[in-house]
């Protein structure tokens, strides 16, 4: 597909718009003579990477672990919970309304509590990422598992197919597009969760670094941190997208 001239044109345009934004940013700062502490130029932003005190590699690693850790846990437990719900209807009827209520809690508001209970660090921040992206995965997966065409159910019943056959051959593969739909939403939320966790209490990570340089008004480093956080999110989203392309037939993919 990449070799296709039309696809190539689309990629070229997408890259051009990104480069255009950076160029506009550069021109705005240069021509507007904006002070560096208000808005650094793209050059200043990249230059911030050279400050060894900021310990970029370590902070990047910490934030990445928090995001990916919380996210992977949410995927495992989210899909697991949804599977249990589809196997045990009474469990779904008891727990699902509870989950919906709990989902109403602004997860950010739990931050101070998490710190009281678990202190601060990688674990609690991953937990924040988990808390914020667990629900969309459970809800969409459970919905996908419920959506079985009644006629297909009849087809399996006329063949005296087992519950397990129905699950492995129809229910689970049919739910996959929904699983990925939830996972894509959750990927974006996981990043926000981990950073909020770092803002509330941490001693390492890109969010922590942003709070540190806020005091010294090193806006360029803050810009760099935001860009890096975004890139971690892009990588996570890209992995999920690639998995979806591998596992879900084009026609079945949900937006």
């Amino acid at each position: 597909m990449a070799g296709h001239p039309q696809a190539l044109q689309r990629y070229a345009l997408a890259v051009a718009s990104h480069l255009g934004l950076i160029a506009a940013w550069y021109l705005f700062v240069k021509l507007g003579e904006v002070p560096k502490f208000v808005m650094p130029s793209p050059y200043d932003t990249v230059h911030a990477l050279l400050v060894p005190n900021y310990r970029w590699p370590e902070n990047i690693a910490v934030t990445t672990i928090e995001i990916f850790g919380g996210y992977i846990l949410a995927v495992v437990f989210g899909i697991g919970a949804a599977l249990l719900f589809s196997w045990f209807r009474w469990l779904e009827m008891a727990v699902m309304p509870l989950l919906v209520s709990l989902n109403m809690i602004p997860k950010v508001a739990l931050g101070p509590l998490i710190i009281v209970w678990f202190k601060y660090g990688i674990g609690p921040n991953a937990m924040m990422a988990f808390a914020i992206c667990f629900f969309p995965i459970v809800l969409t997966t459970a919905r996908g598992l419920r959506e079985v065409e009644p006629d297909l159910l009849d087809l399996v019943h006329t063949l005296k197919g087992s519950r397990w056959q129905l699950f492995t051959k129809i229910q689970l593969p049919g739910a996959l597009p929904y699983v990925f739909s939830g996972m894509k939403v959750a990927a974006i939320l996981a990043v926000a969760g981990a950073i909020v966790g770092e803002f509330l209490g941490s001693d390492r990570g890109l969010g922590y670094l942003m709070l540190q340089v806020q005091v010294t008004l090193d806006t360029a480093a803050m810009f760099m941190a935001v860009i890096l956080i975004t890139l971690i999110g892009v990588v996570l989203y890209g992995i999920v997208l690639a998995l979806e392309r591998m596992l879900v037939v084009r026609d079945a993919r949900l937006a």
């Binding site: 006629d151 087809l155 006329t158 063949l159 051959k169 129809i170 996959l176 879900v248 037939v249 079945a252």
Partner: protein, 254 residues
């Protein structure tokens, strides 16, 4: 004639919803010989789909007798039913051939032999060369052909079709009618075909059973004495017109 393949006597089905009883079928009585293609025709809500589901063993009956199979044609309810619905209901994530193989997998049939059979069946329904495509790459008519192949894969004795061409455009539908007759003649199956198309019912059926709605009951059951193979020209025959008029009259449309 001997022993019929399907025997229904005074079959009654009542749906109970929130305290009120709804009579879905009152007194369905008919026999079907092995190898017949029986059209069940009637307006929507006349209970024809319910009747089909009773034959499929999906719904119990409230009273009456139902017997499928004979001494010469023993019937195993888990292996001898093939279903085709109004929608093809192919699994989007499976290639066409793997969709056809679904019943074989569920029944645990030997896969190598089934795969060869699936190829033959896809050729029979006119989908040679489409084996490895995905359903979204096929037109609606082709998807329904694949669904017919899926209904045949486990070599069932009885094919139940619930308005299988109802979602297709008129021209594709006529073409599929001819195709179905060809497949029926080659595969030598007993087919019960539910439709609300009166012309379709007469054109396809060796026998037509007419159901009327409100209250749902069997209004007529007659043989269609038109020669096989059937051709589209027959639809303009006087005899063909007689049959369709007979049904229109029963449904109060003449």
């Amino acid at each position: 004639m001997g022993e019929p393949f399907i025997h229904l006597a005074a079959v009654q089905k009542v749906y109970r919803t929130r305290g009120t009883d709804f009579l879905a079928i009152s007194e369905a009585t008919f026999d079907v010989e092995a190898g017949e293609l029986v059209s069940l025709v009637g307006p929507s809500g006349c209970g024809k789909t319910t009747l089909l589901k009773i034959l499929a063993g999906l719904h119990p009956v409230d009273s009456g007798e139902i017997k499928i199979g004979s001494r010469t044609q023993p019937f195993d309810p888990s292996r001898d039913i093939g279903m085709v619905f109004q929608q093809p209901l192919l699994l989007k994530w499976r290639r066409v051939i793997d969709n056809v193989l679904l019943p074989a997998e569920i029944l645990g049939l030997p896969m190598a032999a089934s795969r060869a059979r699936a190829r033959d069946l896809l050729a029979l329904v006119g989908l040679k060369g489409k084996e490895d495509q995905y359903p979204y790459e096929l037109s609606g008519g082709m998807q329904q052909r694949a669904a017919i192949a899926r209904a045949l894969i486990h070599d069932p004795k009885l094919i139940l079709m619930d308005e299988p061409f109802g979602a297709l455009d008129a021209l594709t539908r006529e073409k599929m009618n001819l195709e179905l007759l060809r497949i029926w003649e080659e595969a030598k199956k007993t087919i019960v075909f539910v439709t609300h198309g009166i012309t379709e019912a007469v054109f396809l059926g060796t026998r037509v059973i007419v159901l009327t709605a409100g209250p749902a009951r069997m209004a007529d059951n007659f043989r269609v004495e038109l020669p096989h193979p059937r051709t589209l020209e027959m639809k303009t025959n006087e005899a063909f017109g007689e049959y369709t008029r007979r049904i229109y009259r029963l449904l109060g449309m003449e």
